[in-house]
Symmetry: C2
Subunit: 333 residues, 2 copies
């Protein structure tokens, strides 16, 4: 095996076969993938959930994860957010000529490990290689398919009095990628929250019709996600700054850089709107999991101010929180 990726590895010829047989098959082996067809045949009955995401995170190794883990969690979580149980993933690489095979192996192992953790199979894939200077190391697309567990999610279900919850601290992924990218902020505590949301989303879905909508607040952060929940409504969302869980080092990093963690990407959190009658019990159940230990009710749906998200600050003032405008931090996922 070579040490670096060359254009031949993307040719569809001998070198591509070598890559598949020596790196991908050993890592992901399953009956469907091993057939090496142009696609895979799987069995799912009834309603299915489909999702896709391309990952271009920079750097591709960051504190608490890497592009491989992220690319599995990202698509798995999107399927969960639609009320699905993730089952199968496709995996497609765009690799820059000169990329180290050693780094590719590390990323592939991370994908394999996370896929097993999520109980999803990688059933088909694709590899393209672009010339040096036409990429940035590695870009990954995963698309996923899963069985639908619950069909009733939708922003139109949100009503006055509903509770707004978050399953843990905000901004960890954004802060970790920033740490990985520069030497401005360094802290051994700053780590991405990148994780599969299978357990937590299942706990939430146990409440059936009491659950109105859920989403993982990735790019654009919690502020953008809450805006997406309410933007076409006559109602509004009021959140309390003091109730929003945030790690102290994320808070410090934000203060130093003049950035707002409400707009930082999360890769292992769920924001949801649920009927207030079940909110306390749900939070208790979410906190049983390590990844949900900081789950909290952070606000509620109120009448008036149609389509707005309002933040009650720690000192008691109120301000409107809009969707992310511009771009604080590119290439976050």
């Amino acid at each position: 095996m070579d040490d670096i990726i060359s254009l031949s590895h993307g040719s569809g010829g001998k070198k591509t076969s070598e890559l598949i047989e020596e790196i991908f098959i050993p890592a992901f082996s399953n009956d469907e993938l091993n057939k090496l067809m142009d696609g895979a045949v799987v069995n799912i009955n009834g309603d299915i959930v489909i999702s896709t995401d391309s990952f271009v995170v920079s750097p591709y190794f960051f504190p608490g994860g890497d592009i491989g883990k992220l690319s599995v969690c990202g698509t798995v979580n999107d399927i969960c957010m639609c009320g699905g149980i993730p089952q199968y993933l496709t995996l497609s690489f765009i690799i820059e000529e000169g990329f180290k095979i050693k780094d590719l192996k590390k990323i592939v192992n991370s994908i394999s490990f996370t896929a097993k953790e999520c109980n999803v199979k990688i059933v088909t894939g694709d590899t393209k290689v672009v010339e040096k200077g036409k990429g940035d190391g590695i870009y990954i697309n995963t698309s996923g398919v899963g069985r639908l567990r619950y069909k009733g999610l939708g922003v139109e279900k949100i009503k006055e009095g509903d509770s707004v919850i978050i399953t843990g601290t905000i901004g960890d992924h954004g802060a970790a990628v920033m740490t990985g990218r520069s030497n401005i902020i360094t802290s051994k505590d700053l780590k991405s929250d990148c994780a599969p949301m299978i357990n937590l989303s299942n706990e939430i879905l146990n409440y059936g019709e009491m659950v109105k909508i859920m989403r993982d607040p990735t790019r654009g952060g919690l502020a953008t996600t809450l805006n997406e929940f309410i933007e076409n409504s006559s109602l509004s969302i009021l959140i309390n700054e003091k109730d929003i869980p945030i790690n102290s080092y994320v808070k410090s990093a934000c203060e130093i850089l003049g950035l707002d963690a409400l707009y930082f990407a999360n890769e292992g959190k769920i924001a949801a709107v649920v009927d207030s009658s079940v909110a306390d019990e749900l939070i208790k159940n979410l906190r049983k999991y390590e990844e949900g230990k900081n789950a909290a009710i952070i606000g509620k749906v109120i009448s008036g101010h149609s389509g707005k998200v309002i933040l009650k600050t720690e000192i008691g003032g109120k301000r409107i929180i809009s969707k992310l405008s511009g771009q604080d931090l590119p290439r976050i996922c």
Copy 2:
């Protein structure tokens, strides 16, 4: 709307919403996509086919097509090759900062047109933007899901005496991309064969168990695909050069450049192995379609020479044709 893509268009915030609402929704509008969830819910019963491909073709506009048309045809064709009926596509963009919105619209229209032609719906998607110099205009991933029509395809079904067919002229896509990329060869006749293979694959699948395997010979060309069919077998494939359909201008281009069209990518052709008892009738049926008018039997499966593809040249000699080794032409799809 801006004139060029900026990093903000990939932020997940306001500019991303603008792109979705002003460009993607008008082009692809359907009930599932319009919900703007993290994924889409669709209904398929029983066995489904999943496929994925990332497209990095350079240039992204080439004679006879563009990256948009290619990205729909590529995944649609892969699903067909697995015996499936394509139904739903996901669509994911990695766009370089500074890309012209006008070009994006052209590509999006091409995707929309081709998807309608293929009767597939684009149900969910993703857009990432990378800094100038970290991409090359636009890369697209499509993943697809479809209903399985016929389950019995597999290289292990190939037996001695089977006929090897190709549904038309070889090498057109490779030659067209080369034309688009340089001024060495220019001809108004050189055009990509990029097209959906839905009609032709359905005709082939009408023969049920008489069909052993089919594949679209894209990267690596016909030579590599035939090798993939037979490489693990005790049998071999003998093809006759004189029977392989090729456009005269593709042949000339190859002669001038010293390249072999057997290794050139095709994006609108099927290579298949079928029982010899149905081969003549099948060719007659394929020729009824414009895209199959040059369909031909090009060889047969013979005993001995285990796992090899042998070419009988026009002057009567024989040589072994191996898989593509190295890389004649990168970024072909």
